[in-house]
């Protein structure tokens, strides 16, 4: 059983959430999050990530279990806690007929910010998110990236201590994404806590102190990203050859026989072996076999290195499912938003 420590700002105990028609979203979730952490939530579509975030925001109620945020029971202190929490949803909840300036002012009032504070926050956010150029225009004239930046700025108007982000970078360009992740790090350094759902696993790996892996509503891992990768990811052996591989069949067959669990790819001057059943102790043995076969086939090797694959690979190994949504589904979603 999880006990609340003094620094703990989120404490979930035995949380179960089922949607109508018996769809189980979360099963028996126990979780504790300390202040000043960046937590990544990772999982396949429908694994319960967004449900977990909505429960923490107080937007949904669990059937069973208790949720404490900032040491208070969430359901009993919802209005007070909402002043400290911000849930920034996947959908950009903006009024297309209002300007960015009007929207920031509107939410300042709904959060009860005094006039001076509101003015100060407005200036800070416009500067931080580089909104100056379009802040006086109506939202229906914004590009996807501009709307997303405004969406994030509104979520930060009341300086939340706990920031809950559901795929916040989906509409941002690479530059916008880089800016966003830098911002998240600086926001955490101010003493705030960030919980983020994202499919950008490299960024999750580098920014988050902990990663929660969800599969079909179950919390299957709650560890540092490095630990998850080292424990579960499939290692890949990369070999660079001196010349283009001409005798592909002659090389592939013995390699497959020597390491039956490997997924082997030969391309140009590269050999790549992704190994499914593997222990760290087996690495020298595998490498020796590969080098020997290459020598027998007169393939000269220039470079040889092991790569521990990332979170995607670890998740796949643990669940048999891929985290990334199919690219078609992503595009459809974008199209729907645009039409709206």
């Amino acid at each position: 059983m999880t006990t609340t420590t003094s620094a703990s700002i989120v404490n979930l105990q035995k949380i179960n959430k089922t949607y109508p028609k018996g769809i189980v979203a979360l099963k028996h979730i126990n979780l504790e999050i300390d202040q000043n952490e960046i937590i990544g939530i990772v999982g396949a579509n429908g694994s319960g990530k967004s449900t977990l975030l909505k429960l923490l925001a107080g937007n949904l109620q669990p059937e069973q279990g208790s949720i404490k945020v900032f040491q208070s029971e969430l359901k009993n202190n919802s209005a007070q806690l909402k002043k400290k929490i911000s849930y920034i949803s996947q959908d950009r909840a903006l009024d297309p007929e209002m300007t960015g300036k009007e929207l920031l002012g509107y939410f300042s009032a709904l959060y009860g910010l005094p006039h001076q504070t509101s003015k100060k926050r407005y200036t800070e956010l416009v500067k931080t998110f580089e909104l100056t150029e379009f802040i006086d225009r109506r939202v229906n004239s914004y590009s996807g990236g501009q709307a997303q930046r405004l969406h994030l700025a509104i979520g930060l108007i009341h300086q939340p201590k706990l920031l809950l982000l559901d795929e916040p970078t989906s509409a941002l360009d690479p530059q916008g994404k880089a800016f966003f992740w830098d911002f998240i790090r600086s926001y955490q350094q101010l003493g705030n806590t960030v919980i983020i759902i994202s499919h950008e696993l490299d960024k999750i790996h580098h920014c988050c102190s902990r990663v929660l892996l969800l599969d079909k509503g179950k919390l299957i891992a709650d560890e540092s990203p490095d630990f998850i990768i080292q424990s579960h990811a499939l290692p890949i052996l990369h070999i660079k050859t001196a010349h283009k591989i001409s005798n592909k069949q002659d090389l592939q067959q013995p390699l497959q026989q020597a390491i039956p669990s490997a997924n082997i790819q030969l391309k140009g001057q590269s050999i790549q072996l992704e190994i499914n059943k593997f222990l760290d102790n087996d690495k020298p043995e595998v490498l020796a076999s590969v080098l020997q076969i290459c020598q027998e086939q007169h393939v000269a090797i220039v470079e040889c290195r092991w790569e521990n694959a990332g979170l995607e690979n670890a998740y796949f190994k643990m669940t048999g499912q891929s985290i990334s949504p199919p690219s078609g589904a992503k595009n459809n979603k974008k199209g729907q938003r645009k039409r709206r």
Binding site: N59, L60, A79, K82, A93, D95, M98, G105
Partner: protein
């Protein structure tokens, strides 16, 4: 009640007005519709005598307070549409995620819509006067008329918002609104005096809130009579309060997606 509560209502009030002004077509149409009723009905029935009315009172004089009330009824029924739009683009979720008091949010919305309806009813009244209606436009008759329209507006804007929160789609809401508006209008004294109705209809008209508003306005503006608080304004106060509370509490308990 402290300052931020009023700031919440004011912010919602301001946004509702802003959006109303940014939709000039909808605003114009909601004004044109009652004007057409007044022109068509006014000139169509102008030639018929009305029983039991003092000599000199024409149908147009009788009709103008009815059309003013009708303007509020039809305009109020559109109040919930904006909530449905907010639900559809997830904006309502964002509002509900804030710690803002939901009754104050509802109060801001209703007060903006009611103030718009009162302005529209005043424009209808001015046009009626321009067309030749003879009405008492002294301060007290006008005040009674505005008070009754205001209470009726609060009740029906709140009802529209409540329906919107329950129906959650414009199609469902439109069906429901038509089911309420038309019977409400034709079982009231807005267009015809109750004495010219069949008995059963006259009985229904007596308890119809629209008749209450129309009768208060008509008594004040045609005969300079003050309303009896207990039997005319009090029921409107009660209806407005109850339906407003229903809408505000429904907003508070609305489940986020």
């Amino acid at each position: 009640m402290n300052y931020p509560h009023f700031a919440i209502s004011y912010a919602v009030f301001k946004r509702t007005w802003l959006k109303t002004l940014r939709r000039p077509v909808a605003l114009t149409f909601s004004l044109v519709q009652p004007l057409m009723w007044m022109l068509f009905f006014g000139f169509l029935f102008q030639r018929y005598a009305l029983d039991d009315l003092p000599i000199g009172i024409q149908y147009l004089d009788f009709l103008v307070p009815g059309v003013c009330a009708m303007t509020v009824l039809f305009g109020a029924s559109q109040s919930g549409i904006e909530l449905i739009r907010d639900m559809q683009n997830q904006f309502l979720n964002r509002i509900l995620s804030t710690p803002a008091s939901k009754p104050m949010v509802m109060a801001g919305k209703i007060s903006a819509d009611v103030s718009r309806l009162i302005i529209q009813a005043a424009l209808v009244l001015l046009l009626g006067l321009a067309l030749g209606a003879k009405l008492n436009t002294a301060i007290w008759p006008l005040a009674y008329m505005i008070a009754s329209l205001l209470l009726f507006g609060v009740a029906f804007c709140s009802l529209s918002c409540w329906i919107a929160l329950k129906a959650r789609s414009q199609e469902n809401m439109a069906t429901f609104v038509h089911l309420i508006n038309m019977p409400m209008l034709f079982t009231s004294t807005a267009l015809v005096p109750s004495k010219q109705m069949p008995d059963w209809l006259a009985t229904i008209a007596q308890y119809n809130p629209l008749s209450l508003v129309v009768n208060i306005s008509r008594d004040a503006m045609l005969f300079a009579e003050s309303p009896v608080f207990k039997t005319s304004l009090l029921p409107l106060v009660l209806i407005a309060t109850l339906i407003f509370l229903l809408a505000a509490l429904t907003l508070r308990s609305t489940k986020l997606d």
